[in-house]
Structures are given as C-alpha cells and as structure tokens.
C-alpha cells in the first residue's frame, strides 16, 4: 500500500463554538480522484481550505504529502493547485499575465512562467484569448483560466472546490474533459461538488458529507449498491395526491420516499413494480424507471435532497 497523499484524522474546525467540520477522517492515495459530496454548508469548502493549508484546524490531525500544514504551509502549498469556488483572477491583468504573475509566487523564473503560461493556455483552450481582459471572458473561460493558473507549478495535488457550479452544460463537459486528462496524467484530484453527475464522472472514491460529518464512504458504484436499489421508479400523481397515494403502496419496492412533486419507489425491478401498481388500480400522471444515482444515496442517508 502506498502511503496517502492526504491523511485527515478527526479533522475539526470550529467557528465561535459552531463546528463547520466535525471530526472527519479520510485518506487520499496518490493518483486517486477523491470527492467530497454534500449540500451547501456541509463543511466541504472549510475542509478544502484546511487541506489547502490556508485555514488552521481547531483539532485533529492532518498531513499533506507527509507534512503538517501548521508548520509547513508554504511548502505544502508549493505542491498544490487550488481552484477555489469563486474565481479570484486578477481583473487588472490580462489573461496571460494572470498566469505569469501567479507562477512567480512559486519562485518560478519569469521566462519559465511565460513558457508554461503558453502551454497551459493551449491546454485550457484559451490561446486566442491570451491578451483579453479577464472581465471579457465567459464564466466557463474564467473557470478554465483558473484551472490553468492552478497548474502553473505542476501540482502533485489539485484541489477543486465546486469546479463547475454555475456553468452551462457545454462548458461543464469541456471542463470535465480537461480534468479527466489531468487524472490520466497521474495528478491527484480532491474535489467538492453537490452535483452527483460530476462526482460519478470524475471520482474514484467519494465521501458523503453532511453537517460537518462523514455519512458514508466508497466508490460511486459501491455507495449506490450499499445505500440504494438498482432502480428507482418515479411516479407523479399530482402535487395534492402524492402523499395520500404513497401510503397505499404496501409491499411494492424496498422503500418509498415522498417528495413534494413525486413519489420515489426504490426497487430492483422497476418495470415489474410499475405493472403491479397499474394492476392495483393506480394510474400515475407520469411514470419513469431509472437507475439509482448518488442523489438517491444522499436522500437515503440524510432524508434530504442534495440541491435545495
């Protein structure tokens, strides 16, 4: 077993008595792509800042690349690439200058920075915008520039906090493609997301976080197998009727969840269960059989939806 790149034990961060992160433990192996999945306010960003060696932990232990961030903040940060939730590019500088200036912070020479910047602009598909003002870039382009910036120092570990939040579907796919290439090149990825599709696309292993604690851990497939059924049957009887009808679904599926707009029936045979429901005389307005996702895992673990 290789030793972990990131090792957190009972990691805790308290703000005036309120525990934003409440004793979480996890390890990330070299080359692994590891996700923190949870709703807003779960403590993901705080965890990321502690791992990024910019926020001091209240208690617990934390080692990144075998070093403790309390003593070796700058050393750890020299090996990390950080993509924060909110882009913090320098609006006063142009696209290429943003990369060069950032590279300088790692002690890289200006000429090496310039060469690296051109290479990364190519990678981020921004070569034709090198002289643009940052303000004139689209949201997706700014995000790609932030990722390019985070790669200036050839990081061993890339921290991505909600990398695609707020982007349109096309921009997200371009970004996922770029991140997947990095993963193929052996970069360790630690990312937070509240999108289950993103977690499924990018992560080898996930921890589900809620209210500062870890609810479950495993690969996306493992988690679905453990905490959900193979299929989910989604039924709509109209907003006013869902709750009443749900109480009459005896013996169908493993478990029934009632949401305001629909009923979810967790089942290993969705089509069979749908036939049975019809046979029992119920006629849903719409019905749909789909595969279980991490959203269902989260609902099962916390009783709440990921995106509220």
């Amino acid at each position: 077993m290789p030793s972990p790149v990131i090792a957190a034990k009972l990691l805790t961060k308290k703000y005036k008595g309120f525990a934003a992160v409440d004793g979480i433990s996890f390890e990330v192996e070299p080359g692994e792509s590891f996700g923190l999945l949870g709703p807003n306010g779960a403590g993901k960003s705080t965890t990321m800042r502690m791992v990024g060696a910019v926020s001091t932990r209240t208690s617990g232990s934390l080692q990144i690349l075998g070093l403790d961030p309390n003593e070796h903040g700058p050393e750890i940060r020299s090996q990390l690439g950080v993509v924060p939730q909110q882009d913090n590019l320098d609006m006063d500088l142009r696209v290429r200058d943003n990369l060069i200036v950032y590279g300088r912070y790692f002690g890289i020479s200006t000429s090496a920075c310039a060469a690296k910047a051109d290479e990364l602009l190519e990678f981020a598909q921004l070569s034709d915008r090198r002289k643009s003002k940052v303000d004139d870039l689209s949201g997706g382009m700014k995000r790609r520039l932030t990722i390019a910036r985070s790669l200036m120092n050839d990081p061993k570990v890339l921290l991505l906090d909600e990398p695609t939040t707020g982007l349109d579907p096309q921009a997200r796919h371009i970004l996922w493609d770029r991140l997947f290439r990095l993963k193929e090149q052996g970069t360790t990825l630690l990312l937070t997301t509240h999108y289950m599709d993103e977690a499924e696309q990018l992560c080898d292993r996930i921890v589900v976080v809620d209210k500062g604690t870890i609810m479950a851990e495993g690969s996306p497939a493992d988690l679905i197998r453990t905490y959900s059924t193979r299929e989910v049957l989604e039924l709509r009887f109209g907003s006013d009727n869902n709750a009443t009808v749900a109480t009459q679904m005896f013996g169908i599926g493993d478990r029934v969840e009632v949401l305001p707009d629909r009923i979810l029936i967790y089942s290993n045979d969705g089509d069979g269960d749908l036939d049975r429901i019809h046979a029992n005389g119920f006629t849903p307005v719409t019905s749909l059989v789909r595969r279980s996702s991490l959203e269902d895992v989260f609902l099962r673990l916390t009783g709440r939806s990921l995106i509220e």
Partner: protein, 276 residues
C-alpha cells in the same frame, strides 16, 4: 512505499525555500505590474501637481503672505515647500494603502489567490508596502526637482526632504492600511477617512501656517499628525528652521514608530482574515 511520500515531502521542503525567502518581492512585482495600466495618470499627477501647487501657493498666495513678512524673513515659498512634498507623499501613500487592500479582499480578491500559492499574509502586506515605496520614490523625487526649479530649497541638506517625505507618507499610509484591512463591508470608509482624517490633518498640521498660529487646545492635531512631524523636519533640513534637538529626534522617531505599528498590525489583521 513510504519512500514515495518522503520524496514528496523533501520536494515540498525544497520548493518552499524560494517563496519563503522572496515571497514579499513577488507580491510587490505583481502590484508594480498593475501600475502599468494607469502609469499615464500616475506620471501626470507626479509631474503636474508639484508645478501647480508650488505655483499657486509658493508664488501666487506668497505675494499676499510675504508683503506682511509674517514668517520672520523666510519666504512663504520656502516655508510651504516641505509641507507640500510631504503632503504629496501622504496623498499617494494613502491611495496605495487603501484601494489595493480593500480590493484585494473583496472586489478583486487576489489575496486569497496569493495565499493559496505559498505566499503568507505577512508577505502580501510586505509586498503591498514595497509597492507603495516604489510609487513614493519617483513621486517625491520629481517633487523635489520641481522644488529646485522654483528655488524653494536654500540648503543643500534639503535633498533629505525626499526620504523625510517618504517616511511621512509611509507612516500615514501604514496606519490607515491597518484600519482598512479590517473593513469587511465597504460603506464608504475610504471617503470618510479622506474627509475626516486626511484633509483635516492636511489643513491643520502646520502645513500652510505655523502650528503656533492655532490656539493651544487645537495644537494636538499637529502633534499626532505624522504630516506635522514630517513637515517640521523638512523645514529643518531645507532652510535650517530652528528647533530644539529633542524635538527633531521626536520628528524622526514618531513617524518610524507609526510605520512599525502600522506594518505589524496590518500583517496580523491580514493573516487573520485569510485564515478563515
């Protein structure tokens, strides 16, 4: 396989050396790059304002003051010039110590980006202050040259007006920076500082008339103002104004004290705000 992690640790330790040593300079370099986008304005201000102020006050207004011979033989131009160069340094320093810090946390939050790289909060503060110095140096140098053109500096020691003005500007700016760094909600504090601190101290620091013209119960405004200390010191070097030796020492030590306080305090505040 712990060898792999030990290698990684060793690489990190090696990569941390340069940023730890030179990080402040990288930040200063970044700021100075930012000057490029408005160097025309900076240059125009740096050259235009000494001509305008020295002409308006040192020549125009001087005709009114000098006919009274109110300053005991010293011409008003020579009297007011050290105050003007110090005021110019204060204006530039306050500007550079206000907006970059306010912006860096909020409107253009580059501090968080720097800090995610190996740069510490203290280094960010150092870098900004180095950039302030980089702006004050040409500003005061040009001012001094224009003073020479106007014949406003009788003594060769007057060249010390340059470092004195820079010290005055830094003392003012660094203390304001230590306050601005605490501002999380911008509700017009910069305008407030400008109107209730910078302008009153500019007007009541023995700049346009000797502090002794003011009633004794108002002179404390000058005593606490780095501008008064800088101006008085400037007068000593530029035309040999007479004052007790201990007072000259105070004029040197007080601004230095403010610089040290402002510098340390800003470092603490910035580091605390970055460590959320």
């Amino acid at each position: 396989m712990t060898v792999a992690i030990e290698n990684a640790s060793a690489r990190a330790i090696a990569a941390g050396i340069k940023p730890r040593r030179y990080g402040s300079w990288y930040v200063a370099e970044h700021r100075i790059r930012g000057f490029r986008s408005y160097y025309k304005t900076l240059l125009f201000t740096a050259v235009g304002s000494p001509f305008m102020y020295l002409f308006a006050l040192g020549v125009g207004l001087a005709t009114l003051v000098d006919r009274q011979n109110a300053l005991g033989g010293t011409s008003y131009l020579v009297f007011v010039a050290p105050a003007l160069i110090a005021s110019a340094a204060v204006t530039a320093a306050v500007e550079e110590c206000t907006y970059p810090i306010l912006m860096g946390f909020k409107w253009n939050p580059i501090f968080f980006g720097m800090n995610a790289a190996p740069i510490s909060g203290a280094q960010i503060v150092n870098g900004i202050f180095i950039a302030v110095l980089a702006r004050l140096l040409p500003t005061t140098l040009i001012y001094y040259l224009v003073m020479l053109v106007f014949g406003a500096v009788p003594s060769p020691l007057g060249v010390l007006d340059i470092p004195i003005a820079i010290l005055t500007g830094m003392a003012f700016g660094l203390v304001i920076a230590s306050y601005i760094a605490t501002v999380e909600q911008d509700v017009g504090q910069p305008a407030f500082i400008q109107r209730f601190i910078v302008i009153p101290l500019f007007l009541f620091s023995g700049t346009f008339f000797p502090l002794t013209q003011m009633p004794i119960f108002l002179r404390w405004i000058g005593w606490i103002s780095p501008l008064w200390h800088g101006t008085e010191l400037g007068r000593v070097v530029s035309y040999g104004a007479v004052e007790p030796g201990w007072l000259t020492l105070v004029h040197v030590l007080y601004p230095i004290g403010l610089c040290v306080y402002g510098w340390r305090r800003t470092q603490v505040v910035v580091a605390r705000r970055l460590n959320k």
